[in-house]
Symmetry: C2
Subunit: 148 residues, 2 copies
DNA sequence: AAACTGTTGTTTAGTTACTAAACAACAGGA
DNA sequence: TCCTGTTGTTTAGTAACTAAACAACAGTTT
């Protein structure tokens, strides 16, 4: 066995990454870079967020989030309002930001649809095997993550 | 169906990426950054290579390859010799480079082993279904890749 | 022969996307 | 009043690129 599964998987990850690193418009008049659309995506899904929450969610330092958010602010995709908590600032999407969010969703829609189709056509036993595989890989990666 | 497959897959990609972006030693006295170990990996697998070939294989411009290779040269992991073709320069691994290559392989070995174990325990019909899924995702991503 | 062409690899300037560290601004305690 | 803990921000530095100009060479054309 020449490990076709692993090779196919790695090829897929590479393809995914090369797509995800391109800048696009997402239906607005401003180019959005990967880091920017990632933040918009997070806010679009979870609603208004703080810098710290975004930092935890995306695994990026608060400084990094702050930098990308100032760019998004200048581009008019997000706005900041006083938060409830101590020194907190809420970040939410403007109308333009929502346009970009939906534009991004629309781009991924065919993929999601195809995945749903596939999921529906798989019987439960096979599905469980696939889930086991994914979980095993995930565990193995976790082990690697901890290593120095 | 809330698309568990897609979610698990994306989580896995994120985890893989976060592991792959860390700098490590790989058994030598020099820190190797992701871009550097990727080039070492490519040469380790394919044998001596030229800048152009590495550029094609890794999908990075020749300028980028050249830059990373000068770093690897200074760190003593690769060496350059005159190539056969016109103006060609062969890039190959030094002993230190081979150490790093095997160090990288050793890191991924448990993963490969686990994957082989899994592959062996899957019957052919299930395996074919999984392959179909991976190919479908791959095709869908190709479609996205072409889009402007 | 001289000029053009095509290939190779390199260098430079510029960019994105970070991190680490210092900083600022505020509230609640000791 | 000072200390602490939280928030977010700014700064300097880095990796990993790209695009474009460049150089160096051989083969072909004029």
């Amino acid at each position: 066995m020449d490990n076709q599964l692993l090779q196919m998987g790695l090829k897929l990850i590479n393809r995914y990454n090369s797509i995800e690193k391109k800048a696009r418009y997402y239906g607005t008049d401003v180019m959005l870079y990967p880091s920017e659309i990632h933040i918009i995506e997070a806010i679009g899904i979870s609603g208004k967020m703080t810098t710290t929450k975004l930092s935890d969610l995306l695994g990026i330092t608060k400084g990094g989030i702050s930098q990308t958010c100032t760019k998004l602010l200048k581009k008019g995709l997000i706005c900041k309002t006083d938060g409830e908590g101590l020194n907190e600032i809420y970040i939410s999407l403007t109308d333009k930001g929502k346009t970009a969010y939906y534009g991004h969703q629309r781009l991924h829609e065919p993929m999601i649809k195809k995945m749903n189709e596939l999921s529906d056509n798989i019987d439960e036993t096979t599905m469980n095997i696939i889930k086991t595989i994914l979980m095993t890989i995930n565990d193995e990666l976790s082990r690697l993550e901890v290593e120095e």
